[in-house]
């Protein structure tokens, strides 16, 4: 069953690159949402038997990652009058190439890790490391606060993927914990965005550097 994960992981990897390369914030939100939906389906393939609890959790994950959080973000965009262009510090081509280099390194690095037998041929570990790297890239190379939120979401997606490896050992504990972090993080960041907007009339993080004195 783990082999069927590979096509989904490929699409998740491709969505990383979409998130790095497109120039409209709505497109990035959609990419991250789609990745969240894919990740929500994945436990169905990893866990051998699915109980009612499993299905419920899958539905909740898809609902949260795929619909609620993106709605929340687009609402924030409208409220805070954020312009729809991504403003990168490093240009799109370089972000794409950096993401590619990171993914390549992730594939090579995952070879050196001592994984269980059924996980060595799978794309799980490379995909998770690559998504973490993409999230990190977004956090560091994008100026707008909402892009930082999206980078944090990507980071959480990556860690979630890695947690899928431990599914049999700690059934669903990992996902619940991660989801909680996720929700708290987005909630907190949403509040901060509103407050930044209200106090400083701008959503760009470059103005935060004025605080350094």
């Amino acid at each position: 069953m783990v082999q069927l994960l590979d096509p989904l992981l490929i699409v998740a990897l491709a969505l990383n690159f979409v998130a790095l390369g497109v120039s409209r914030i709505r497109a990035v939100i959609n990419a991250v949402a789609l990745q969240g939906i894919l990740l929500g389906i994945m436990p169905l393939f990893v866990h051998p038997e699915i109980g009612l609890r499993g299905i419920l959790l899958v539905v909740v994950t898809i609902g949260l990652k795929g619909f609620v959080i993106p709605r929340f973000l687009t609402h924030a965009m409208r409220e805070a009058n954020i312009q729809h262009e991504v403003k990168p510090v490093v240009n799109f081509m370089s972000s794409l190439l950096l993401g590619a280099v990171g993914t390549g390194l992730a594939v090579v690095f995952s070879y050196t890790l001592p994984l269980a037998d059924e996980h060595t041929d799978s794309l799980l570990v490379p995909a998770s490391l690559s998504t973490v790297w993409t999230g990190f890239l977004m956090l560091t190379t994008r100026q707008k606060a909402i892009m930082q939120v999206l980078g944090y979401l990507l980071l959480e997606n990556g860690i979630f993927l890695f947690g899928l490896l431990l599914l049999e050992a700690m059934p669903f504990l990992v996902e619940v914990g991660v989801l909680l972090d996720l929700f708290t993080g987005v909630f907190v960041m949403g509040i901060i965005i509103y407050h930044i907007n209200r106090e400083f009339a701008s959503i760009s993080t470059e103005h935060l550097t004025e605080l350094k004195e």
């Binding site: 690159f17 390369g21 120039s23 794409l96 190439l97 590619a100 390549g104």
Partner: protein, 305 residues
């Protein structure tokens, strides 16, 4: 005898079908827009009309301007003879013919761009500059996909690489082949100047690549250019069809209609893509092309890791 029949059908299909693809794309776009659109056979009528017209040549141009359409058409025609259609091998096949295919299309591009610059006009210069720049990024994507197919099929002949042996490989290496398919579809869009790279409908110099390169051509020469462009679309479309539907029923009278059906599906998909996506800003085009290269690169990395 069998190969003779297959080759005959191959050549006839390659001669007759390409303008139909253009007609289907135009019709699909019209249906999306709520119009009736031009008839499906309109490109054929256009070709007949163009052959009968006279020509106007600019006095700035030299013999290169007249040679451009000829080279573009003939290289595309030879390229069509190298591609396998349906479940048969191409009329001409030998080890390494994939490289000849890519470089024949490169020869056509060289002379089309040179003929465009022969007019001394800044519009054609703009189109030629963009055409050669985007080709630089599309060629590696094409070759990376060819690497995947060479690794899977173990041969360097297009008829074997794109043949029926691909069917079982879709089960085992489906991820790589899906990545190559997506990447080659993007290459098809860029090499044939379709949206999101170029808008074949507008005739503004700001949006054009192919349309502006042939601005000063007219009459029979322009007919040759139109037909050559249709042939090039046929070549790339056939590669996509053979990659996506490597079905081999074993009955030729079933295989050829399946192939023709596949080509029509590809034309409709191109029309759908053109109708739903907007043209990319020029500075974003290299990003998409590099993305296509990366997709193919990951296809091959997945195979050899």
């Amino acid at each position: 005898m069998n190969t003779m029949i297959h080759n005959t059908i191959h050549i006839l299909l390659a001669l007759m079908m390409p303008p139909l693809l253009l007609g289907i794309i135009a019709k699909t776009k019209a249906l999306f827009a709520g119009r009736v659109g031009p008839p499906l056979l309109q490109p054929y009528y256009d070709l007949v009309k163009l052959v009968q017209k006279g020509s106007v040549f600019s006095s700035t141009t030299t013999w290169v301007f007249r040679a451009g359409p000829v080279v573009g058409l003939m290289t595309a025609a030879l390229a069509v003879l190298l591609i396998p259609l349906a479940n048969s091998s191409a009329p001409i096949t030998f080890t390494g013919d994939l490289i000849l295919l890519a470089y024949l299309l490169g020869l056509g591009r060289f002379f089309t761009a040179t003929a465009a610059l022969d007019t001394g006009s800044s519009f054609e210069g703009m189109g030629a500059a963009r055409e050669v720049t985007f080709a630089c990024l599309a060629e590696p994507a094409l070759f990376l996909g060819l690497l995947v197919l060479a690794k899977l099929s173990g041969s360097l002949q297009l008829s074997t690489m794109l043949g029926s042996s691909l069917g079982p490989h879709w089960m085992t290496a489906g991820a790589s082949l899906a990545l190559v398919l997506l990447s080659w579809f993007i290459v098809l869009l860029v090499e044939n100047s379709r949206i999101p790279f170029d808008d074949p409908n507008t005739h503004l110099e700001l949006t054009m690549i192919h349309e502006v390169m042939v601005l000063d051509h007219g009459g029979p020469a322009f007919g040759m250019i139109l037909y050559g462009a249709a042939l090039k679309l046929f070549v790339f479309g056939a590669m996509i069809v053979r990659l996506a539907f490597p079905l081999a029923t074993g009955y030729p009278w079933l295989d050829w209609p399946i192939f023709v059906g596949g080509m029509l599906v590809v034309a409709v998909v191109i029309g759908v893509v053109e109708s739903t996506i907007a043209r990319l800003r020029l500075t974003h085009v290299p990003v998409l092309l590099v993305g296509a290269c990366l997709l193919s690169a990951f296809g091959i990395v997945l195979l050899v890791r």
